[in-house]
């Protein structure tokens, strides 16, 4: 069997192929995990999926292109509200996948408009402008109460699970499909597709262009890169991810209300990106996992300390806010970056 290592190395040479293999392996793990865990865990995993999608998009923007957005919660809101508007009846005009695609496209269009403006801004100016966006967007939903449901928000009616999907999963796992699990599948399939696309994009010429712009604008411009175009494209890709994430979030939460898209959400996403390490998709996923599962641990810890539920619920943001600051102060490369750096140093010294 001398061929196996050789074949493996050939696989790793083709980026797309390698990513597809990884994606397939990921899907197998996802099916196993979703089928063997409770409805509650399935729900949490869905949250991890949509946070992961949005964080993945933000990682591309911040890590690869060096732009900062504090407004991705607003783009999630746009995706979520679009989804909710399509899912007001039991007989929706589009299947769920179609709705998510439309939600992504609508957000992408808004993202393009914002991106054109944002491409001219730098550092703190961009941060301030996107911060304003995050604060402004929930107000729009309140202002147009008739169509967008005001403070109460819009309910999302989940269409029937397609028979073919339920059958296929039953065939594979011998488990009956539940709605929670169905949404979890949608979330994770969306995540895997998004990550494959993002991973390929970041390895492609486009990704190299983005990194070049991030590392040295002047050099990139001299090399013939259109700075504005590279920035807008990164912004658009990133907002499209946020739109898709918002769509999945609407399906999972079954309600879209302004209170779900306050500044906290945008800052939370940034936390996920920073925790994982700017620029790494795996890091974004780890960050999303921390955001999803840490609150429960922290709340339990708070209860042990004798804090009230409301107080305990704040321990999680306290923890990741602190970790975020520590990461910047001590390990600016984030968790994944630091481990990689440690690994590389170990490798060279060995």
């Amino acid at each position: 069997m001398p061929a196996l290592p050789a074949r493996l190395s050939r696989v790793s040479e083709s980026t797309l192929l390698r990513h597809l293999v990884l994606a397939l392996a990921g899907m197998v793990v996802i099916v196993l995990v979703l089928e063997s865990t409770s409805a509650f865990r399935n729900g949490q995993l869905t949250a991890m999926a949509y946070l992961g999608i949005a964080a993945g998009g933000l990682t591309v923007l911040t890590g690869l292109n060096g732009q900062l957005s504090l407004g991705h919660g607003a783009f999630m809101a746009i995706g979520a509200y679009t989804t909710a508007l399509f899912l007001q009846d039991t007989e929706p005009a589009l299947p769920v996948v179609g709705v998510l695609v439309v939600a992504t496209l609508v957000t992408l269009l808004v993202g393009a408009v914002v991106g054109v403006a944002a491409a001219r801004l730098h550092g703190p100016y961009l941060a301030g402008a996107t911060l304003a966006l995050a604060v402004a967007v929930p107000g729009i939903a309140v202002y147009f109460t008739d169509t967008l449901g005001g403070e109460q928000g819009l309910n999302v009616l989940l269409p029937e699970i397609p028979d073919w999907f339920a059958d296929a999963v039953f065939f594979l796992t011998a488990n009956d499909m539940t709605t929670t699990r169905y949404v979890a599948y949608i979330g994770w399939i969306a995540l895997v597709l998004t990550f494959v696309l993002l991973a390929n994009l970041s390895r492609s010429r486009v990704g190299r262009t983005w990194r070049a712009v991030r590392d040295d604008e002047v050099a990139a411009e001299i090399a013939g890169i259109n700075l504005a175009r590279a920035r807008v494209l990164a912004f658009v890709v990133s907002t499209a991810c946020a739109g898709l994430a918002g769509g999945v979030m609407a399906l999972a939460v079954r309600i879209t209300a302004p209170s779900g898209f306050m500044l906290t959400l945008s800052l939370t996403l940034l936390t996920a990106v920073v925790l994982g390490g700017l620029g790494s998709l795996l890091g974004a996923l780890i960050g999303a996992a921390l955001l999803t599962f840490l609150p429960q641990v922290a709340t339990g810890f708070g209860a042990d300390l004798g804090l009230s539920d409301v107080q305990s619920a704040e321990l999680a943001p306290l923890a990741y806010g602190l970790v975020m600051m520590l990461v910047i102060l001590l390990a600016p490369a984030g968790i994944v970056g630091s481990v990689r750096g440690w690994w590389a140093r170990r490798g060279t010294s060995a």
Partner: protein, 292 residues
């Protein structure tokens, strides 16, 4: 007429507060090239400190003074402990750091003081004056707000223009290396600058809170308005921040009064984008182009 007058006067009062908050942001930006987004929760938590003092039975004024001192100390500590390591380094890291601080102070306030709305007292009346048929919307507390901000601004101008300390602070902000070579302890000046800025921010927090409700997020939108006001005036100019704050306060008051209070933040966003795209150096800049 009644509504117009009311809206304009409310805008003026609000504008004073935005001006103060913008000034706090500008002071820090000028000296360390960092926009301190954590200014909002820093002001929020010092207002809670005032509330604790007042609830303990002390007068409003003692609470007010304690909060300002708390702001001063908090600003100094934040600069020394948190911000010092990233000064002059990657601007993205500085922004992320202030946002981390934002989240931490927010969560801390919620853990310590709870997340519910609490009412904050005002030392002066909250009813308007009656002049003939017109009910002037300017309240006793509104006048206090305007006077308090003006006094603080006058003190700052005096400090910066008339004293040696102010001169050293300005020198440190404009050219740290030359200031060091001239014997100025630049690190101390930066700490002092952050402390003063936090004090001004705390003042804005107290003035927003007066006669109203406080909760951990009550300053979040103010940091956006303060930033927009500061950019309007050109992030480097204290005088510009004040004018920008007043302009923004009046504009937003009209949006709130005639269009809808829900769209105030959106209006601020639109104003910000227009300024950044058309006059990136601020409304009063003579410089043709500046990278923003």
């Amino acid at each position: 007429m009644q509504q117009f007058l009311t809206t304009a006067l409310t805008g003026l009062t609000l504008g004073m507060v935005y001006a103060a908050f913008a000034l706090a942001l500008v002071l820090i930006w000028r000296s360390t090239r960092i926009v301190n987004f954590a200014q909002a929760p820093m002001a929020m938590i010092t207002t809670y400190v005032a509330l604790v003092v007042i609830d303990a039975g002390y007068s409003y004024w003692i609470g007010f003074a304690v909060a300002l001192v708390a702001g001063l100390v908090l600003g100094a500590v934040v600069e020394r402990v948190v911000v010092r390591p990233v000064e002059g380094k990657s601007e993205i890291n500085a922004v992320i750091l202030t946002l981390g601080l934002f989240i931490v102070i927010h969560a801390l306030a919620a853990v310590i003081f709870g997340s519910r709305y609490r009412s904050f007292p005002a030392p002066f009346g909250l009813r308007g004056f009656q002049v003939g048929d017109l009910n002037l919307a300017i309240t006793g507390f509104g006048i206090f707000t305007i006077v308090a901000v003006l006094v603080v601004m006058a003190l700052l101008v005096a400090l910066f223009r008339l004293t040696d300390l102010g001169l050293m602070m300005r020198a440190s902000a404009f050219n740290a290396e030359v200031a060091r070579l001239l014997g100025v302890k630049v690190g101390r000046m930066l700490t002092l600058g952050w402390a003063l800025a936090a004090l001004v921010g705390s003042l804005a927090g107290l003035l927003i809170a007066g006669g109203s409700l406080v909760h951990p997020s009550y300053m979040d939108s103010v940091v956006v308005y303060g930033f927009v006001a500061a950019v309007l005036g050109g992030l480097d100019s204290p005088a510009g921040a004040v004018v920008g704050g007043l302009l923004l306060g009046v504009s937003l008051s009209f949006v709130s009064g005639y269009v809808g209070s829900e769209l105030v933040a959106l209006a601020a966003l639109v104003i910000l984008m227009l300024v950044l795209l058309l006059r990136p150096g601020g409304l009063f800049s003579h410089a043709a182009e500046r990278r923003v």
